[in-house]
C-alpha cells in the first residue's frame, strides 16, 4: 500500500503541491440489531478507498476515491490540486503547518479475542437471551439489542516522509428496553444509550459488560418510570452520574475547546465557542475541583491512536486544570494561530472520503476523592440523574439543557423517589464553577461516544469520556413551562 502512497505523493509534487498527504482506509464492520426476539438487521460492510490532501499556491485541496485501483491516482490527485488552486483565490493568510516531526511507524490497538472470529450464533444468542429477560416485564413492549465490531487498517503517508500504518479493533454492545403505557413511552439503556458501550477492545469487552446480569434491573426500572412523575421545576443541588456527565463534558467542554470553532470556521453550521482567544489561559472555567484532560493515549479509548490524521503523535494534556482553562484542541494547520509550535494532535477524519478536521480525542474529568454514597448523604435537597436521553446546547456552547433517562429526588441525604424525564439547564462556566464534589477513582469509568457529528460534509466520530459522578450546587432542574 505504501507503493500506492508514494505514487500519489510523487504525482502531487509533480503538479506543484508544496505539501501532500494520503490516507488509505480499509474497514470491515459487522453489526447486529435485534428487536423483540427477532434479528432485525445483520450486515457486513467492507469499505475501502483513499483521500488525498494537498497545499498548492497557499490553498488547501482534498479529493477522494472509493476505488483503490492505481488508475484512479491521476484523476484524484489532479482534482485535489485543482481544488487547492481554487481555494487559494480566496485566502488571506499564509498556511503555516506546525513543526511536528514526521514518523515512520506501526501502531495497533490491543485486544484479547478477535471479535470477527467469534461465531455469529454466539453473538445472536447473547442478544436474544437479554431480549427475553427484558420482555418478561409486561410493560416493556420494545426490547432492542445491538452489537458492532470494527476493524480498520489506516495507511498514512506525507510528502514530509511520514509513513504510518495503524490497525484498530473496536467492539460495542448494549441494549435498551422501552415501556409503553399510560400514553407515555420510557426507555432505559445499558450500559449506555445509543447502542451501548464501545471501546477499542475485542470480544472480551462484550464478556466484561455483564449484559445479561443487568437486564432484569433495567426492565424493572423502565416499567417503574411509567408510573413516575416529572420533577417539579426548581433550583436544587444536582448529582450527575458518569454516563450523563460524559455527555456534559463532551458538549460543554469538548466542542468549545476545538480551535476551528473558536476561530469561526464552524460559525455557519455548528457554531463557535465562548472560549474566545482573549480568554485563552485566562478563564475560570470551573471550580478548583475540575480537572479535564485530553488524552489520545488512554487505554482502549475510542479516541486513542498512535498518530492523528496529520501524523502527529498521540499525547495527553490538560484542557482545564484546577478550574483554569489551559489548552485548546488543535491540529497542524491552526496551532500557529495561538502561537504554538506543535499541534496537540487532534486532527481526525471519519473515513477515507473525509478531510481531517479538529476533533475531540478522549476527554475526561479526573476523579475526585469523595465516595458516591457520601455525596448523596451530604445532599439535603437534590436530584440524581443519569442515562443520556436528550441534549441541546447553543451555538456558543453556553446555554444547555439536558434530559436524562432516570432520576431520583434526594431529601436529607437519601434517594427517596424515582422521577421521569429529569431535566436540568445551565450556563457552562457557571455550571462547572458550581461543581463541589467529584466521586473518587473507584467510581470513574470510560464512556464511549460513537455518534459525535461535526463538519460539512458531515462526519461522525468516536471518542471516550471518562467520568465519575459529581455534584453541582444550585442548578435549575425540571422543565420550565410559563
Amino acid at each position: 500500500m505504501f507503493d500506492f502512497c508514494d505514487k500519489v505523493l510523487n504525482y502531487a509534487e509533480l503538479l506543484g503541491a508544496s505539501y501532500a498527504d494520503i490516507r488509505i482506509i480499509i474497514r470491515d464492520i459487522e453489526s447486529l440489531y435485534t428487536k423483540n426476539g427477532k434479528l432485525e438487521n445483520y450486515s457486513i460492510n467492507n469499505i475501502e478507498g483513499f483521500g488525498v490532501r494537498v497545499i498548492c499556491d497557499n490553498g488547501w485541496g482534498f479529493a477522494s476515491s472509493s476505488n483503490l485501483d492505481s488508475s484512479q491516482i491521476e484523476k484524484t490527485v489532479r482534482k485535489a490540486v485543482s481544488i487547492a488552486k481554487a481555494s487559494s483565490k480566496v485566502r488571506k493568510e499564509p498556511i503555516i503547518l506546525s513543526k511536528d516531526p514526521p514518523f515512520q511507524d506501526r501502531w495497533a490497538s490491543t485486544y484479547l479475542i478477535d471479535p470477527f472470529t467469534v461465531p455469529f450464533d454466539n453473538k445472536l444468542q447473547t442478544l436474544l437471551e437479554i431480549d427475553e429477560i427484558l420482555r418478561n416485564e409486561p410493560s416493556v413492549k420494545i426490547a432492542e439489542g445491538y452489537m458492532e465490531f470494527r476493524r480498520e487498517h489506516k495507511y498514512f503517508a506525507s510528502s514530509e516522509n511520514a509513513r504510518i500504518l495503524q490497525t484498530t479493533i473496536v467492539s460495542g454492545a448494549g441494549y435498551s428496553a422501552t415501556a409503553v403505557g399510560n400514553e407515555d413511552v420510557q426507555t432505559r439503556s445499558y450500559p449506555m444509550s445509543f447502542g451501548g458501550q464501545y471501546m477499542q477492545m475485542g470480544w472480551e469487552l462484550v464478556e466484561s459488560l455483564k449484559l445479561k446480569e443487568n437486564a432484569q434491573r433495567v426492565a424493572s426500572e423502565t416499567a417503574a418510570l411509567l408510573n413516575a412523575k416529572e420533577p417539579e421545576p426548581k433550583v436544587r443541588d444536582l448529582i450527575i452520574g458518569g454516563e450523563q456527565l460524559s455527555l456534559q463534558i463532551h458538549e460543554s467542554c469538548g466542542h468549545p475547546s476545538e480551535l476551528d470553532r473558536v476561530l469561526g470556521y464552524e460559525e455557519n453550521y455548528a457554531g463557535s465557542s465562548f472560549i474566545t482567544v482573549d480568554k485563552y489561559r485566562n478563564l475560570h472555567y470551573g471550580s478548583h475541583k475540575v480537572n479535564i484532560v485530553a488524552d489520545s493515549t488512554l487505554p482502549n479509548g475510542l479516541g486513542t491512536f498512535g498518530y492523528d490524521d496529520d501524523g502527529v503523535r498521540a499525547q495527553r494534556f490538560f484542557v482545564v486544570k484546577n478550574g483554569l482553562y489551559q489548552n485548546y484542541l488543535t491540529n497542524r494547520e491552526l496551532a500557529y494561530t495561538i502561537n504554538e509550535d506543535r499541534s496537540r494532535g487532534c486532527s481526525r477524519a471519519d473515513n477515507f472520503s473525509s478531510v481531517p478536521i479538529i476533533r475531540m480525542i478522549n476527554l475526561s474529568l479526573l476523579p475526585g476523592d469523595d465516595k458516591f454514597e457520601d455525596i448523596i448523604a451530604a445532599t439535603e435537597d437534590g436530584l440524581y440523574v443519569d442515562g443520556i436521553k436528550t441534549w441541546s446546547i447553543d451555538q456558543m456552547r453556553l446555554n444547555f439543557q439536558f434530559t436524562c433517562q432516570i432520576g431520583y429526588l434526594i431529601k436529607n441525604g437519601k434517594m427517596i423517589e424515582m422521577v421521569k424525564n429529569p431535566t436540568y439547564q445551565g450556563i457552562t462556566p457557571n455550571f462547572w464553577q458550581s461543581c463541589d464534589m467529584i466521586a473518587s477513582e473507584e467510581y470513574w469509568k470510560p464512556w464511549g461516544v460513537i455518534n459525535c457529528g461535526k463538519g460539512q460534509p458531515a462526519q461522525v466520530m468516536m471518542m471516550t469520556h471518562g467520568a465519575a459522578p459529581a455534584r453541582f450546587k444550585n442548578v435549575m432542574t425540571g422543565i420550565v413551562r410559563h
Binding site: 450486515s43 457486513i44 472509493s66 420494545i142 470556521y265 460559525e267
Partner: protein
Amino acid sequence: MVDQIAKKVFELSKAEQTEIFFYDGVEALTRFGQNQITQNVESQSQKMSIRMLDKQKTASMEISNFSDKTIKNAVDKLYQILQHQVQDERLQPLPEDLNFKANDTIPESFKKLDENIRAEYVKKALYILNKQSVSGAGICSQSKYNVTHMTSKNYSHTFYDWKFAFSLSAKNEYGITREEFQGTTLDNFNIDKLANKCIDSLNFSKEKDRIEANKYDIIFTPEAFAELIQYLFYFSFSAKEFYEKTSFMAFKKGQQVFSPLLTILNNPHATDSSALYYDFEGSPTKVVKLVDKGYCNNLISNRYFSKLLNIENTGNGLSPTTFDCFPINPEIEGGSRSLEQIIQSSDNALLINRLHYLNIIDPITLTVTGMTRDGVYKIEKGKITTSTNNLRFTESILTALSNIEELSSDRQQCEWFIGFMKVPAVKIKQFNFSSATDF
C-alpha cells in the same frame, strides 16, 4: 456498469432472491470562515449493498470494490452467513418486473459548476460583506448521485438527485444572521441578493433589547419552522410507531389535534429534490394527506404494516428488514398572505430566523427543546424594531401547532433529516421559552 455488476451478483448468488442497491455519487463542498476559504473537498464514491433472501432468512453486505474476485468472495460469504440467520415471517418478497429510470436531466447551470465557480461565488459574497465591515462564513456545495435498485426478479429502478447550496452567515459587532439558497438549478440563485439580504438583516441588530424567558407570540421563517416540524414528521406518522404506540397518532388518529389552518401532505413531487417514485421495496409512492384542516387522518406505510393494520400501502418503505417508513417529502399548505404581510399585521411578536440544536424530550407530546440563532427580532406595531438575545424553547409541537394563527402564502423548500419538505412561515401564539442566553 451497474447492469454488468448486478448480472454478476445474480449469476453467482445461490439464494432464492437477491437484490442490490448501487450508489454512485460525487459531493463537493467549499467552506469558508474568517473571510477566506478554509476547506475545499470533493469526494467520489461508489458502493453496493447486496441482500439475499432465502427461506424467509435474509442478510446483507456492503462493498466498495467491484473486482470479479471481491464480488465472488462477497456473494459466497453472504450466502454462508445467510445459512446462519433466523427465519422471519415478516420478510416480504423482492419486487419484480419493472424497468424505471427517473428524470436525470441536469440543468446546464448545474453542469458547469466546479471548484472555480464555487470559489468565485464565495469571493463575491465576501466582497459585498467586507465592504460593509461584515465578516462571512458559510458553504458553497454541489452534489450529484444516483441509486440503482435491482433484483434477481427483473426489477430495476434508478433515481437521481443533485443539489446546489449556498449558506452565508454574516457577522459584525451588532450580531449575526444567516441566509441560504438550495436548489437543483442555479437559475434563481443571486449571490448579490443573498449577501445584501444578510446586511439588511444585520441593520436591525444595531439596537438590541434584552428579553427574558416567557411565552411569546412568534413568527418562524420557513427555515425555522422546518427545523421544528421535522420532529413531527420523524416521530409521528409512521405506521410502525402507530402500531408500537410510540407516537401521538396511536391515541389521536382521526381527531382534530391541530389548528384548522394546518393541512399537511406527503407528496413525493412537492419538492424538486429527493423525489422517489418507488420506495425501497419497489412500491409506488403515493400522495397522502396526513393532516386535513387539523385532523390527523392518515399514516405512512409500507408492505408489512399495510397488511398488518389493513391500511393502504403508501409506498414509503425505506428498510426491508426493520420496516421503517417515513414521509420523505412532506408539504404544508400555505395561507393567503405573505410573510411580510403577516409581520405588518402583528402588533407584538418575535420574528425568529433560525433554530439550533433541537432534540426531543417526549415522543408522545412531541415536547422538544432547542435554541434560537442567527437573528431574533422584535415586531412592534407591524414593524421590525430591534433584535434581541437568543432564547431556549421547551415546547410541545402538538400545542404549538394547535396555536397556529397564520401560515404564509410563500413557501420554501428545506432539507430535513431524510429528505426535503416544502413549508411556509408560521405565526404561533404563546410559544414557551424556558431560558435565555446572554448573546
